[in-house]
């Protein structure tokens, strides 16, 4: 790993403030980390002696596991706090939690939090590099990076592609991070969903908004379906999941409107039968599990770049 990295950020808080070069640097590095998963001993010593704390103050299985595996494969010492085991349930403020963690001298803190801006608050109270693993409905940068990695692998490029993001855009940090990221990388981005789930001013982020899925799918290269976030009170925004599935669910008939080689993505977890029919989720166009596999490699790349890893990955 002797390349000169176009990456000088101290933290990874969001895609909004990364340049296309920085994004590409992470994607390239992620590509090289991918093959570690195929080794008999899935471990490199690059972050040996570094401490990574996973501070998950909102429920998460996939992302937390992915970060834990990424840290372990880089030989970092990693520990995880989850919402139920953390002192925040005892009334401690995030700043106090941050100060306590800081006193233990971690190198990287990965934070998942229900409220937008929490990782930014953390950076003001902690020396460690901070990775945003999802803050409210704001950003989820490593998801956008693994999505870009997946798209690039399957399409050979990102510039010039038409990407449709469909579903609960308003509550989605995945949508926001992907919009920032894909626009910087030169893709055309469409968002589609019930009007009541499209946030005001979304067009100002450089996307085209559709209130029906069919015209949005026309000629699309990539179809990214989002989960309806019932836990963020999305339920009141449309009549019920039955009607949602009928109007916005991705089924083979609708998928046929996209390009013949269009790929289907989903950040998970999938509500089968709601945003996507099982035949599409498990079908030949689905790259959903590849997204998950690349998630580990991308997170290794992010941790490596932020943790100042040694050049011993090879």
């Amino acid at each position: 790993m002797n390349q000169a990295h176009a990456f000088t950020q101290k933290h990874l808080l969001g895609m909004e403030h990364l340049s296309a070069d920085e994004i590409t640097t992470i994607l390239d590095l992620g590509e090289r980390f991918l093959e570690i998963a195929d080794r008999p001993i899935k471990k490199v010593p690059t972050l040996r002696g570094k401490t990574v704390i996973n501070l998950f103050l909102e429920a998460s299985t996939r992302t937390r596991t992915s970060f834990e595996i990424a840290a372990k494969r880089l030989s970092a010492d990693s520990v995880s706090f989850s919402a139920s085991s953390s002192s925040t349930t005892k009334g401690e403020t995030l700043i106090d939690t941050a100060n306590n963690l800081d006193a233990m001298s971690p190198d990287i803190v990965v934070i998942r939090h229900a409220q937008a801006g929490s990782p930014h608050l953390l950076t003001k109270h902690i020396d460690a590099a901070v990775v945003n693993a999802g803050d409210g409905q704001h950003e989820h940068p490593t998801q956008a990076l693994l999505d870009a990695s997946t798209i690039r692998a399957h399409k050979g490029k990102i510039a010039g592609l038409t990407v449709v993001i469909c579903g609960d855009i308003d509550h989605s940090r995945v949508a926001r991070s992907n919009i920032f990221s894909l626009r910087k990388l030169g893709a055309r981005v469409r968002v589609a969903g019930p009007r009541s789930l499209l946030p005001l001013g979304i067009e100002s982020m450089g996307v085209e908004a559709f209130d029906r899925i069919e015209p949005a799918l026309d000629g699309a290269d990539v179809v990214m379906m989002l989960r309806i976030q019932l836990e963020r009170n999305a339920g009141g925004r449309f009549p019920n999941t039955r009607e949602y599935a009928r109007l916005f669910g991705l089924n083979p008939r609708r998928l046929a409107l996209a390009k013949p080689d269009a790929i289907v993505m989903h950040p998970g977890p999938i509500n089968r039968g709601v945003e996507m029919s099982p035949s599409v989720a498990d079908g030949p166009r689905s790259v959903i599990l590849d997204q998950v596999a690349r998630g580990v490699a991308i997170r290794m790349a992010a941790l490596y770049l932020l943790g100042g890893g040694s050049d011993a990955a090879e």
């Binding site: 939090h113 409220q115 801006g117 929490s118 100002s204």
Partner: protein, 430 residues
């Protein structure tokens, strides 16, 4: 307390159409004379105020003094000291104290504490409903007798239309203005910021401007029904301006105020998640700010009010959505409004009207003019003084201002209440 002659200043007293160089003589706590040249009677303290503005004392009709109950944020003593330093000779104390000012006993406590430790005049505002719950009317008659000059459930909106109707009718009978924090809470849904492109980008839940204007629209229908005196607290959006402008044309007894922060900041200020930018109503769009400025200039918005809302780090050093809404404003309001004068949006006379004469008129308070015979409440302003907002130097007990570090131009350099100097910039008084 010696008599005072303010010599050589520019006297701006829009209530009497005065804007001219003149001397102002204050005797026995009252304005004795305002004339081009006055010889100081013997024993009079002469203060040179050349190049300074001499205006009727500024009145803030929307202040949270936090006493009783939240003295760790502010007290009547510290809040009125901040007011004096900001050029205010009077403040109206909003009733969302702990307990709320919904009974005579609380009003009397505030009046007594203000007499004991207050630096400027304090006019309490009582609750519309008991406990600000929006259910049963508070004892408005008792509150008024004890010293309340208006009623408001500020911080909370009276959501129930029947309760609001009866409150307006009852208050009308007493001659009390009703000040509404207009927010349809089912529509705002605790959104911590303004719903628009900025919140969409930064992922904060937003509340639409319509949460305010829809409630103003309902209330204006109730004003038409009841004929009560109605005042919109902290108006913040273009649609509210349009509604108020329209009913004023019809002659309804409606007035409105705007805060300095809704005149100076947009929702873009929230982008860095500075919790000091979290405020109710939220900082709005550029278009809304432009509408507020135009409305303040043309008189659709009658008054500037600070909505000075002190909070401690306990409430502010947290995630944006967890932070208590509100910012302090007493010590920055005048300088921020002077920016609008410098920009040619307000004339000096209009500024003084909005910050002194209009609040006095809306609430029927003494002051708002330098007419001989009135109380000697005077603010002396240096419109050119350059200073930087340093929260650590403010008199308020709290520090929650988004204007920290802002280069300011203009400030109050002397504040006189009933003929006594209650604040003076160092070196101003010989």
């Amino acid at each position: 307390m010696p008599d005072i002659l303010l010599r050589g200043g520019r006297v701006i007293d829009p209530a009497r159409n005065v804007d001219a160089g003149a001397d102002v003589l204050l005797q026995n706590g009252k304005v004795a004379a305002v004339e081009a040249r006055l010889a100081p009677p013997s024993g009079t303290k002469v203060i040179e105020v050349e190049n300074l503005w001499v205006v009727p004392g500024l009145i803030d009709m929307h202040t949270h003094l936090r006493e009783p109950g939240q003295e760790y944020k502010e007290s009547i003593e510290t809040g009125t000291a901040a007011a004096a330093a900001g050029g205010f000779t009077a403040v109206c104390a909003m009733p969302n104290t702990v307990p709320p000012n919904d009974t005579r006993a609380v009003t009397e406590l505030i009046v007594r504490r203000a007499r004991e430790v207050g630096v400027v005049r304090v006019y309490p505002i009582g609750c519309i409903t008991q406990g600000q719950k929006g259910e049963s009317l508070a004892e408005m008659g008792d509150l008024q007798e004890a010293g309340c000059v208006a009623v408001s459930d500020d911080g909370k909106c009276v959501m129930n239309s029947e309760v609001m109707r009866r409150a307006l009718e009852y208050a009308r009978g007493l001659g009390l203005p009703v000040i509404q924090h207009a927010e349809d809470t089912s529509l705002s849904a605790n959104g911590p910021a303004h719903e628009g492109a900025a919140t969409t980008r930064i992922g904060l839940r937003g509340q639409p401007a319509a949460a305010e204007s829809a409630m103003v629209a309902r209330d204006l229908e109730l004003v038409a029904l009841t004929g009560a005196r109605y005042h919109v607290a902290h108006a913040s959006c273009a649609e509210t301006v349009r509604l108020v402008r329209e009913v004023k044309r019809r002659g309804l007894p409606v007035t409105a105020e705007v805060t300095p922060h809704h005149l100076m900041l947009t929702d873009e200020a929230c982008v860095g998640y500075d919790t000091n930018t979290r405020v109710h109503p939220p900082l709005r769009s550029q278009e809304d700010v432009a509408a507020m400025r135009a409305a303040l200039a043309d008189g659709t918005i009658d008054a500037v009010a600070t909505d000075h809302a002190p909070h401690s780090p306990v409430e502010k050093d947290v995630e944006f959505e967890q932070a208590a809404p509100g910012m302090i404003g007493l010590e920055t309001a005048l300088a921020l409004c002077l920016e609008l004068v410098a920009a040619g949006i307000l004339s000096p006379a209009v500024l003084v009207t909005r910050m002194s004469a209009a609040p006095a008129k809306i609430l029927g308070l003494p002051g708002g003019t330098l007419a001989p015979g009135t109380a000697a409440d005077v603010t002396v302003i240096d419109p050119r003084a350059a200073w930087t907002c340093d929260p650590s130097r403010l008199r308020s007990r709290s520090r929650n201002t988004p204007f920290a570090g802002r280069a300011m131009r203009g400030r109050g350099v002397m504040t006189i209440v009933a003929g006594s100097i209650v604040f003076a910039e160092e070196g101003r008084v010989g």
